[in-house]
């Protein structure tokens, strides 16, 4: 146990607090934030020093938000970041202010975006929205048409989440797909992410990601959008299928390699048989004259014993 003699500077403390917040599982930002707030015990420091972390978290998570009066959501992402706490919705062509703690949008203003890419953006958005409706029960997508590093690029973001804290679980999947339209042949680059947290009487997280690259032929807006979405659909189907298969493999092989359900002999150990192998004849006779009553308590969680005060002799 190292000694933490020197107190940490405020700067270092708030950096640690920010780090905890950015790693909150989906749907648990508020819980982590509140805990961190208690630990740090300095609201001003937290607000000023960790504001960037709150924004980073929402952008990483593709947090969906509804603008007033709209039935559809838009995603908060780095591609829509205008600075000064403002983001834009490329479908509705508005910019808005976003409160990262309350997760609310306000002050909408018209925002045109890059008009040269509009037709491509709109075609991809239409095709992708139909795809998301077909495969994601609670999915949202946002498509940008932007010039990035001098290349005219289409960026598609998809997000779907289920938060059920009352049942002790939360889950979110995100994917981001890009390709450039400057040339007739391009590479579609995709990143798919899944994170699930189940914590009923335990704590298990699935954190998974996959990178994908496929080539695409760029012709006209409608045709290219169709091809783009086809690539996305195939890759995301393959990914989801692979995850299910991994679970099976993990259950059949690796998990078993860590701890078998039954010994190799396929029968539970007969402890009395093992006992008899170890005991010499003379000891056996002595035991047969014994009357010993004992109570054995074993605890079902590793930390259970700590609550009963059972302690080793102090060193």
């Amino acid at each position: 146990m190292t000694d933490f003699e020197e107190p940490l500077s405020d700067e270092e403390k708030v950096r640690i607090a920010a780090n905890f917040v950015t790693h909150a599982p989906p749907g648990e930002f508020n819980e982590v934030f509140n805990d961190v707030r208690l630990l740090l015990n300095n609201d001003n420091l937290l607000r000023e020093g960790a504001a960037h972390a709150f924004a980073q978290y929402n952008m990483d998570q593709f947090t969906p938000v509804k603008l007033d009066g709209s039935e559809e959501s838009v995603l908060i992402t780095e591609h829509g970041d205008l600075g000064q706490g403002r983001f834009f919705d490329p479908r509705k062509r508005v910019s808005f202010r976003f409160d990262h703690l309350r997760k609310e949008a306000s002050d909408p203003q018209p925002y045109e975006g890059e008009t040269a890419l509009r037709s491509w953006r709109d075609a991809c958005d239409e095709a992708l929205s139909a795809y998301v409706k077909e495969h994601y029960p609670t999915g949202v997508c946002t498509v940008y048409g932007k010039t990035v590093d001098g290349q005219q690029t289409i960026i598609a973001c998809i997000e779907g989440h289920q938060f059920q804290p009352k049942n002790f679980w939360n889950g979110r999947c995100r994917s981001e797909w890009k390709f450039t339209i400057s040339q007739s042949s391009a590479q579609v680059v995709g990143v798919l992410k899944i994170q699930v947290h189940y914590y009923e009487d335990g704590n298990v997280q699935l954190v998974s990601h996959k990178e994908v690259e496929e080539s695409i032929v760029v012709t006209n807006e409608t045709q290219t959008a169709k091809e783009f979405v086809k690539i996305i659909e195939n890759a995301e189907n393959d990914y989801q299928t692979a995850i299910s298969e991994n679970y099976q493999t993990m259950s059949d092989t690796t998990f078993k390699a860590l701890r078998r359900q039954l010994p190799v002999t396929r029968t539970k150990i007969d402890w009395n048989k093992i006992l008899s192998y170890k005991i010499a004849a003379s000891c056996f006779i002595i035991f047969s004259f014994m009357l010993v009553q004992w109570a054995i308590t074993s605890f079902n969680t590793p930390s259970g014993f700590r609550h009963t005060g059972l302690c080793p002799p102090s060193s």
Partner: protein, 197 residues
């Protein structure tokens, strides 16, 4: 899960440096992954935990460990109580890393053995015999099996279900048509069985 285990150890340290007064409480309620150390004298690995500060340690029955874990590292630490003894049995097994999957199983079993007053104690001809005497009861630790089954069926099964609830490989429209067809079929079948009976 491996990533999360690694992060957890660092997180404990991070919380402690922020709020040193929580040190005791935190370390006593959060289990860290077991660390392996090497006994150079005997040339064997052993496991570190809160309990081996005093130095008395005995090797666990390797029969149990090998039959269930086919290898791994185990350590047992026992200490006297007023009316019996207590102990902790540690087992650590790392996966072999084949098939590109890595994993690690840590077991911490804590037991307390009370010997009631007035009963004669087993003759202690050597420490091995005392261990052997109590072994049948210590060994029937069904809890590990239960936890393992729970992990496999509930925890992993549940997270898989959640993933498949976030996205559907099958088109949702097709899925709901299938559901409707299944419901219709069930209704027809139950009506038929009512008519027949």
């Amino acid at each position: 899960v491996r990533v999360i285990v690694r992060v957890c150890a660092c997180d404990c340290v991070r919380v402690i440096v922020c709020v040193p007064s929580l040190c005791e409480d935190l370390l006593s309620s959060v289990d860290q992954p077991l660390k392996i150390a090497r006994d150079k004298v005997v040339g064997k690995d052993y496991l570190l935990c809160d309990y081996n500060r005093d130095g008395d340690s005995y090797r666990c029955s390797t029969e149990y460990r090998d039959l269930y874990f086919e290898g791994g590292v185990s350590s047992v630490y026992l200490w006297d109580l007023d009316h019996g003894f207590a102990g902790v049995i540690l087992i650590k097994k790392a996966g072999d890393g084949s098939k590109k999957i890595k994993g690690c199983w840590d077991s911490i079993h804590v037991v307390e053995v009370q010997v009631r007053a007035g009963a004669p104690l087993p003759v202690q001809t050597g420490i091995n015999n005392v261990n052997c005497f109590y072994l049948p009861n210590l060994g029937n630790m069904d809890m590990e099996n239960k936890i393992r089954s729970t992990l496999n069926e509930i925890y992993f099964g549940k997270t898989k279900d959640i993933v498949n609830g976030l996205r559907s490989v099958q088109m949702l429209a097709d899925k709901s048509k299938q559901e409707a067809l299944k419901n219709d079929l069930m209704q027809v079948l139950s009506q038929r069985s009512k008519q027949q009976s």
